[in-house]
Symmetry: C2
Subunit: 289 residues, 2 copies
């Protein structure tokens, strides 16, 4: 029975605990800076027991599933306390800040920078579920910076134990592309939600007139501010240029409407329909959305 | 057996044909300006038979489910040919242009301005399905402009035959609020789709890194340009101010990121989370999204 310590027992860390416990091959030690979350996580069986500081050197692996702003400091601290043969990985959706923070650490090789691309708009230990990861993609960044045995152990955990498809990318490439397809979507949804709340004084009207299209487009605006404030800030260098492109495309749309340019608008919508083919492939990948 | 003529056998008109035929109380006569769509619609049983010009005076009711730009002219033309005791309704998502176009017509009372709030990102006769409308909301606009018997027949069709919840609003109020919760969502999704296609040269990266959040947020960018170009143009007076508010909210977001204002960003996300309560009510209304 391998011993794994998980820091952060929310949606991601808690679901990892559940899924790894379900294999019967791991004993999970859990920690959370929020005592209520720790209590709830132990009640729900997201971990077998509480992770105490004295347990750290006994762990075969450590998983960091904490908010993006806490991650770089925690990774540096724990690398120094880790058993020399143990591995550590994180699950954050921004990879450069953590890999930069530990790049000169003597135990850098024990660390694997990972991003399991899975989640929902819910957060906290109540949101965790055992099947969050199966069939989805996990990105491992900068594999050449990790020791071979640590890399293999972590890739096996993701691929074999969790049933994920493992891909490898440099962290700067990861951060740029994840800004496009994930972080931008969150800004778009939050901006939509804020705008509707700004202009629509009567919630009854939103409820009455909104269909499933609105619910789908705005869904990510339910996401946790504790998780997403640091993610968006930490990836701001990749995100800001694409937000400006988004703003320019919005201006193009407004301009076509103001000019009543039906031909131009029709061409823009038709060209953008190409995204449908990609969405359909994502839907195949994940099953029905 | 009541005879109903449906103009436009796409997602909306075709699903109406299927659902009304399924009650066993209606014989459906269908017309579509696209001969391929008409053929496919008859093959799929969206209508019993083709609607010929000579059939019009024999119809008990006429349904207009054509694109928003074709609607005002078609409504005027057909009101003159309608049996004097028959009713007519449309299904468009913008109501002022059609109600303005017929407001002085001697048979205005036979017309009921309707907007069944139901749809998917798919279009055409292949997209039609029998259960599109059940449990959803139908808005009838300016009921005082319709004759009592026409209004009652149409409300019964929506409420009893299709199982929809019928609400009443003035058309200008409808158009303003539908811009907020439906038309803005479409612009937001198309702008997201266009931006990702602009910045992401490699479709493989979108496929690799995109999760269900991106698919959900961008889904409406699959919507038909033939349907949505005229809708957005016809409702531009209500839509443009809200698009400008959306652009201002995007600027606020960009500014907070540039200033690295974690407190301000966290407050913005937390405040916007209020939209979640409304989404949850929409999900209850429609079942799981």
């Amino acid at each position: 029975m391998k011993r794994i310590g998980i820091y952060g027992l929310g949606l991601i860390g808690g679901s990892l605990g559940l899924a790894l416990r379900a294999t019967g091959r791991y004993r999970i030690y859990g920690a959370d800076r929020n005592p209520e979350h720790l209590k709830k996580a132990l009640e729900r069986g997201l971990a077998d027991t509480e992770l105490m500081p004295a347990d750290i050197p006994q762990m075969d692996g450590i998983i960091l599933a904490v908010p993006a702003d806490a991650l770089p400091v925690l990774a540096r601290q724990l690398l120094g306390k880790l058993n020399p043969r143990a591995w550590m990985f994180d699950t954050g959706s921004v990879k450069r800040p953590v890999t930069e923070a530990i790049k000169d650490h003597p135990r850098r090789g024990r660390f694997v920078a990972a991003h399991p691309i899975a989640g929902t708009e819910y957060s906290g230990p109540e949101a965790a579920f055992v099947s969050l990861f199966g069939g989805k993609i996990n990105i491992i960044c900068d594999p050449e910076a990790s020791d071979d045995d640590a890399l293999e152990a972590v890739a096996t955990l993701f691929g074999h134990d969790l049933g994920m498809n493992v891909h490898y990318l440099p962290s700067d490439v990861h951060d740029k592309h994840i800004a496009y397809v994930s972080h931008l979507s969150h800004v778009s949804a939050f901006t939509l939600g804020k705008t509707v709340l700004d202009v629509e004084n009567d919630e009854h009207n939103i409820f009455l007139m909104a269909g499933s299209g609105f619910a789908s487009t705005v869904r990510l605006a339910k996401s946790s501010p504790d998780t997403w404030t640091p993610v968006l800030l930490q990836n701001r260098k990749a995100l800001l240029p694409v937000l400006k492109t988004y703003g320019q495309n919005l201006e193009i749309f407004i301009d076509l409407l103001e000019k009543e340019d039906a031909g131009g608008l029709h061409r823009l919508l038709t060209d953008t329909n190409r995204i449908g083919r990609i969405i359909d492939r994502i839907a195949e990948k994940y099953g029905k959305q």
